[in-house]
């Protein structure tokens, strides 16, 4: 990265990648999300439990998260690896393990130990194709990503689009 990030961080420096390779592929094929998305949020969906004890005080605890994000709109681009994965899910009505993938969140404001790498978190996820079709603006396949855990910290090489966990370094 050429410039040091100071102050308010631009949205583009929080990068979201999804592995577009088929489940079982030997090497992942990470594709960056964000084209045509004016907004993209990972909703944490915390499991919040509030109890009131015998003293009348309320106690709130969070015992987990069910993170989920929505990629809408997603315009299909011929030849794009992610489009082909999504189209296959829609065409063949894939379920269960065929929907597995991984997502990587890359902190582009936080450089890793080697040049061109950045702090990143990888997590398993499930692809849910919501619908396909759309209006005359183009063929759309909006989809949801359900983060299912196995979150690992590491670094992401932005040039080769490869993730290396801290335990592998």
């Amino acid at each position: 990265m050429a410039d040091e990030i100071i102050g308010k961080i631009k949205r583009k420096y929080m990068a979201h990648f999804i592995d577009a390779a088929e489940p079982g592929a030997t090497t992942p094929s990470y594709v960056r999300l964000g084209t045509d998305l004016e907004e993209y949020n990972v909703e944490m969906n915390a499991n919040v439990e509030t109890k009131r004890n015998i003293l009348g005080d309320s106690v709130t605890s969070i015992d987990g998260y069910e993170p989920q994000s929505s990629v809408e709109p997603y315009y299909a681009v011929a030849g794009d690896a992610l489009f082909e994965r999504l189209q296959k899910i829609a065409d063949e009505r894939l379920t269960l393990d065929d929907l597995k993938t991984t997502v990587v969140e890359v902190h582009l404001w936080e450089e890793g130990s080697t040049t061109g790498t950045f702090v990143a978190y990888k997590e398993d996820a499930i692809i849910e194709v919501v619908s396909y079709g759309g209006d005359t603006a183009g063929y759309q396949i909006p989809f949801n990503l359900h983060h299912v855990g196995n979150r690992v910290k590491g670094v992401f090489d932005i040039a080769t689009k490869t993730f290396t966990s801290d335990s592998e370094e």
Binding site: A2, R11, K12, Y13, G34, T35, L37, E38, Y40, L108
Partner: protein
């Protein structure tokens, strides 16, 4: 080539225009028919995605000075505007442009051309039988790539 140069080029290459006149002026029209003047009237950001890519729109007014002796002429003039509107709808084919912001040049492409309000705009000599000016507003939508990341 920036968006203004590109739209001027597309209009110059349009057979409807080139059959009548060899050139498109910028911010200028001659008094005698046939003359075309392309007037850029501003640029606006339509939307920006989270990667920093922008969809922008540049607006133009094309003024055309035609003759207007009789209804036949005026029908031909209005038909010209109608045919030009149809032509523009299919003229955007991803032509590349360059955008320079803060001395950084980024690439972009034309995504859509559309038009509106094609109509008689005014008389030259205070009479409908002299040269008259028609206008058509042209909207050029284009996409520019985020620099870096």
């Amino acid at each position: 080539m920036n968006i203004i140069e590109l739209v001027k080029q597309i209009l110059t290459d349009c057979p409807l225009v080139s059959d009548l006149s060899g050139e498109i002026n910028i911010d200028y029209t001659e008094n005698n028919p046939v003359s075309f003047g392309l007037y850029p009237i501003g640029d606006q950001l339509i939307k920006e995605d989270i990667l920093g890519n922008q969809e922008r729109q540049h607006n133009f007014v094309l003024y055309a000075v035609f003759q207007s002796f009789n209804d036949y002429d005026r029908l031909a003039n209005s038909t010209f505007l109608l045919n030009l509107a149809y032509y523009l709808e299919h003229a955007a084919t991803g032509q590349e442009i360059e955008v320079t912001i803060d001395n950084k040049t980024v690439s972009g492409k034309l995504t859509k051309l559309s038009s509106a309000n094609g109509m008689l705009y005014g008389y030259q000599d205070g009479t409908l039988s002299g040269p008259v000016t028609y206008q058509i507003q042209i909207y050029a939508e284009y996409h520019i790539e985020s620099e870096g990341f």
